[in-house]
Symmetry: C2
Subunit: 454 residues, 2 copies
């Protein structure tokens, strides 16, 4: 339960809920989730909702080379500029957002919450600007709501592809060439839904803030409404391919078999055992596995699988990852198969900047929202932007800690609390020209024109 | 190496090799195998080759309700019958055949050898009948070459579906309703290639003989050309479905996870361990496994897999199957998931009839082919017909024992030896009106018109 009691009939909150619901309808499943894989037709529908909402609120939409969708709200005064609705190079930019792609049969909150809140915040800021223009310019920065492409890594790997491109980690050619399990590339899939753009990405933001559901049980257990992320767990991820030999499952003598699925089974069990050595400190999983030829009468000749190790401590992560590498070799040797490890990625744990945490904590205090600091164990687009600009990440509770499931749920009051927090922080940042320190101390009061422009 | 040296330019042998090669071209893979799943377009091509070859040799083709394809050769004299090319109720029938469907990326010998040999034998018998009609009727039985539908159980489960229908084990509605992993039914797939027939199956044969590649190393190791199957290993097969809960692979605490793939891994490892308890006596495997939602960031919520246990001894089979059932429960309990077992099938080991073994041994002796008795560990359509009629199963060597692989290979001399053995046995059986005892002692000599009609 949230301690936050929303005032009735706030059109900004109503717009937020209505936009959230519109996203949830795109690729909706009967069980209340969404099946909205990156660059699928359902993703195309959600992107159309995004674009319409931005334009309806007086913003403009651009799409970069990897399909990242930007909703740009020109808030700061233009001095003699020919177009007053286009962000300008000399005006700081505040960016908020998340992603609209989902896991297969995923939840409707994951990602969509942060996008809906960002677009609704942009709309509220735009309305505030228009309502207060005669009283002087309220904002010294522009605002951008962003929908990052392929955050999930479900249809195309790696995850965080769009935000990684924005941050310069991947080039566009690499991103567009990623293929799904049927061989379709991201570029082809984006083109099929008309979302392969050629707009330049916006300038590097002065600050980036992302609102997301927690996807774990900590906030619910602590009775807090807002989680302020201080750090992310490090992660080691890699793809393994075991290559054995197809053979008849009947007459082929057992010692002659080179069973790729048996090797995979040894590795999966061992991957779990590694997490069990460090309870609560290491999480591990194998979520994806493909078998060839996958016929009940044929000894599997090839198996591909995705291994993940996450840890609260980088030293332990390194130790666990080394054990996983040993487990790969042992599994191959026991089953007598060949093995290759592909796309190994080790991402250390990193601190999120103190100033953005202080800003979100100050906003939570101002709004009377119970908050606590916590780690994020899952990856988020905000982590892509770490080091690029002051970056913040805030969570609202996930009922039962359930995530990546149609049963994922966050109560409406918690959704609204998250939106209000994001709006408060975005308002302060835009008023302060994107300067975080100034925003921390720039609490709005009830007389502020921004807060009365409903 | 075979001890058999074929005489040059025997048109019956040439027809056999040419038909075998024509089948191998249907669904041929670059690596020398075939990808000819049941009722696929490639299977349709092979079925067209079958029909053309039968008709070209003076036979007629019929297709029953599950797509079994019969090439009928009217050999015995008709007394006053209006049509002399249609088998008659009062004429005994000798049947030989196998299957044209393959495993995914399978071998070109498995099944196709037995069908090519049966059709070529029918053609040779028909030619012999025509060549000797003025000298009196040489045959007292008709001959049928058969191509059974879905022997492999690769695209549709269970295996031996067409021969099981013929033997009365399955009804047509059950068989046609089997679906592949994309949800297409056998009935739909057969209709799509024009192979859903409505002809009545032929009468129960007086004798059935199947030629197949061994798919194991015994003949090669013993230096024998012909294997005469005395018994099949019993087998226990079942489908398992583990149901857990989708969850984020990152933040979800390990003790809360209900990982269906982890359960599958435990079961796969344990299934192997069961075989290792009885070396050379129990074979086991998991060849097929499907994961949902199969995304690298989602704890797998559901896994389906196919478990097989085969044993040389029925008592040990029962013990091993009981251990496998325990392993299913243990795996589910350890991973905290639900489990269901579906389509359990336990097929005991059975003896093949002594008289058919004696007949094929006598034929091998007459042809000078080194032979030995052995078990079959793999299933074959001949096993479906056990109990229905005198049934024989003979093998030729598989190089390296390799099967269900594009690397499957049998030397041309061994293929020919198998064909000559089948032709000899079919000739004797048709001359003896399908009576096996008479055929055993009915060795043809060089003066026999059948053997001179080239």
């Amino acid at each position: 339960m949230s301690a936050f009691s929303p005032p009735p009939h706030d059109p900004r909150v109503e717009r937020f809920h209505s936009l959230f619901d519109a996203f949830a309808a795109c690729g909706a499943t009967a069980a209340g989730g969404v099946h909205r894989l990156c660059a699928s037709p359902a993703d195309g529908e959600a992107r159309a909702v995004f674009a319409a909402a931005v334009r309806d609120a007086g913003g403009t939409v651009s799409i970069d080379a990897v399909g990242n969708q930007y909703g740009l709200f020109a808030l700061a005064p233009r001095h003699g500029a020919p177009q007053d609705d286009v962000p300008q190079e000399n005006v700081p930019l505040v960016m908020c957002g998340s992603h609209l792609d989902s896991q297969p049969q995923g939840g409707r909150f994951d990602g969509a919450l942060g996008v809906a809140a960002a677009v609704a915040a942009g709309a509220a800021l735009m309305a505030a600007k228009k309502a207060t223009e005669t009283a002087g310019a309220p904002f010294a920065a522009d605002f951008c709501a962003v929908n990052w492409t392929n955050e999930e890594g479900a249809r195309f790997r790696p995850s965080l592809l769009g935000s990684g491109f924005f941050a310069g980690r991947h080039d566009a050619a690499y991103a567009l060439a990623r293929t799904d399990d049927s061989g379709t590339s991201l570029g082809e899939a984006l083109a099929a839904i008309g979302q392969c753009g050629n707009d330049a990405p916006p300038k590097t933001p002065a600050a980036y803030l992302e609102l997301h559901v927690e996807q774990g049980p900590a906030l619910e257990q602590a009775g807090a409404t807002i989680g302020i992320v201080g750090r992310n767990w490090g992660a080691a991820k890699f793809e393994v391919r075991f290559d054995g030999e197809p053979a008849h499952t009947g007459p082929t003598p057992m010692p002659r078999r080179r069973d790729a699925l048996l090797a995979a089974a040894y590795l999966i069990a061992q991957t779990r055992a590694i997490a069990d050595r460090w309870p609560g400190i290491v999480h591990s999983s194998v979520g994806r596995l493909l078998v060839l030829p996958n016929s009940s009468n044929v000894v599997p000749s090839a198996v591909s699988l995705s291994v993940e190790i996450r840890a609260a401590d980088d030293r332990i992560l390194a130790e666990a990852a080394a054990l996983a590498a040993d487990a790969v070799r042992d599994a191959a040797a026991r089953a007598g198969v060949d093995v290759g490890v592909f796309e190994p990625a080790e991402r250390p744990g990193r601190e999120l900047p103190r100033d953005m945490r202080d800003l979100t904590a100050a906003c939570a205090e101002a709004l009377g929202l119970p908050h606590l600091g916590l780690d994020t164990i899952s990856g988020h687009d905000a982590l892509s932007l770490l080091g690029l600009c002051p970056t913040g990440l805030v969570f609202v509770p996930s009922a039962g800690g359930i995530a990546h499931s149609e049963r994922e749920y966050t109560a409406p009051g918690d959704l609204e609390a998250g939106f209000r927090l994001l709006l408060e922080a975005a308002t302060r940042l835009c008023r302060a020209g994107g300067m975080v320190e100034a925003a921390i101390h720039g609490a709005a009061d009830a007389c502020d024109p921004v807060h009365t422009a409903r």
